[in-house]
């Protein structure tokens, strides 16, 4: 099938799909008036019963916690898949040699960038931990804070400290942390069985709204997801960075 034929067929079917979709969204409830009792009940349950101020995080880790378990495992498997695919392109010894070569050659980045990176790593780490732990109180939670923490590692790389990146993430440590996070979430989910209630039930005491330990299992699950997302995203980014290390070795 030639490119031209494919283009004509594609545009035709896109037009058909577009017409069907516009017809479909025309039948949705009017914009601004969500229908259905779930939207009204869910934040009330979160606030009154579970004492969670941030209704969205409460729903993510409590009312719809089972969906989040699935999503977290998708992330785990995706990190695994990216690592397997990229590791096929290198061996362990070449990475150490490339990092040592990079260290000997000296950083090629500008002084301003290195200074900025060094200054920002600490506050980024602190901000990431804050966002993870305060998931139940303010906008935040495990997912956002986890990516922020992985971003702190990226700052180290951008500041030119490639060898420091290698020391700071012995790969087995990152993999162990990834597995621990995923396992912790599953164990807390199964803890319901130990306590004699349904799986994924909120079994810890609820505390008072606004305090750090409110919401029962919600902050615990938020921290578990934070650990797992940090480790997973760090694994993916470091695999991509390793490919860049090999690159700079070959350029000369």
């Amino acid at each position: 099938m030639s490119r031209r034929t494919r283009l004509v067929l594609g545009l035709g079917s896109l037009a058909g799909l577009g017409a069907l979709l516009v017809w479909a969204v025309g039948g949705l409830p009017a914009f601004g008036h969500p229908r259905g009792p779930y939207a009204d009940l869910a934040p009330r349950i979160m606030l009154d019963e579970r004492h969670v101020a941030n209704a969205v995080t409460g729903i993510t880790f409590d009312l719809r916690g089972f969906d989040t378990l699935g999503e977290e495992l998708i992330l785990f498997v995706a990190a695994l898949g990216a690592a397997v695919l990229l590791r096929a392109l290198r061996t362990e010894g070449t990475i150490k040699a490339a990092a040592a070569y990079e260290e000997r050659r000296g950083p090629g980045t500008a002084d301003a960038l290195r200074a900025l990176g060094a200054v920002l790593v600490g506050p980024t780490l602190l901000l990431g931990i804050y966002v993870v732990v305060h998931g139940a109180l303010t906008p935040g939670g495990g997912f956002q804070g986890g990516v922020l923490l992985a971003g702190a590692l990226l700052l180290v790389y951008a500041a030119g400290q490639v060898a420091a990146v290698e020391r700071v993430r012995p790969v087995s440590l990152v993999e162990v942390a990834d597995a621990l996070g995923a396992a912790a979430y599953t164990l807390v989910a199964l803890a319901g069985l130990v306590f004699g209630v349904a799986v994924m039930d909120n079994v810890l005491p609820y505390g008072t709204t606004g305090s750090l330990l409110s919401g029962g299992t919600v902050p615990v699950l938020s921290v578990a997801v934070g650990v797992e997302v940090t480790a997973g995203v760090t694994l993916i980014l470091s695999e991509f960075v390793d490919q860049m290390l090999l690159r700079s070795r070959r350029e000369d």
Partner: protein, 89 residues
């Protein structure tokens, strides 16, 4: 529908179209970054600060880095292949 939401929606539509129509992957990474920014402002306008926070960290930190590193790796592979071809001849 507030005025802010209308403006944000139009900005997202324009940014999305620009991302699709930019053929060169390197320039497209920049357009994709602008789409991410427009989306995060849109999410704030829709009263979703959690989602906006997610979108900012992901579209600002994670995705552009991966795209640029993948493109650099592809360029390296091309250059090495060209060098090998030149050596053979």
């Amino acid at each position: 529908m507030t005025a802010l939401q209308t403006v944000c929606l139009l900005a997202v539509a324009v940014a999305g179209t620009a991302t699709v129509l930019t053929r060169d992957p390197l320039r497209q990474a920049v357009a994709s970054g602008s789409l991410g920014l427009a989306l995060s402002v849109l999410f704030l306008a829709f009263g979703a600060p959690d989602v906006a926070l997610s979108q900012i960290v992901v579209a600002g930190v994670a995705v552009p880095v991966m795209v640029l590193l993948a493109l650099a790796k592809i360029r390296t592979v091309d250059r090495a292949a060209a060098r090998d071809d030149a050596e053979e001849q």
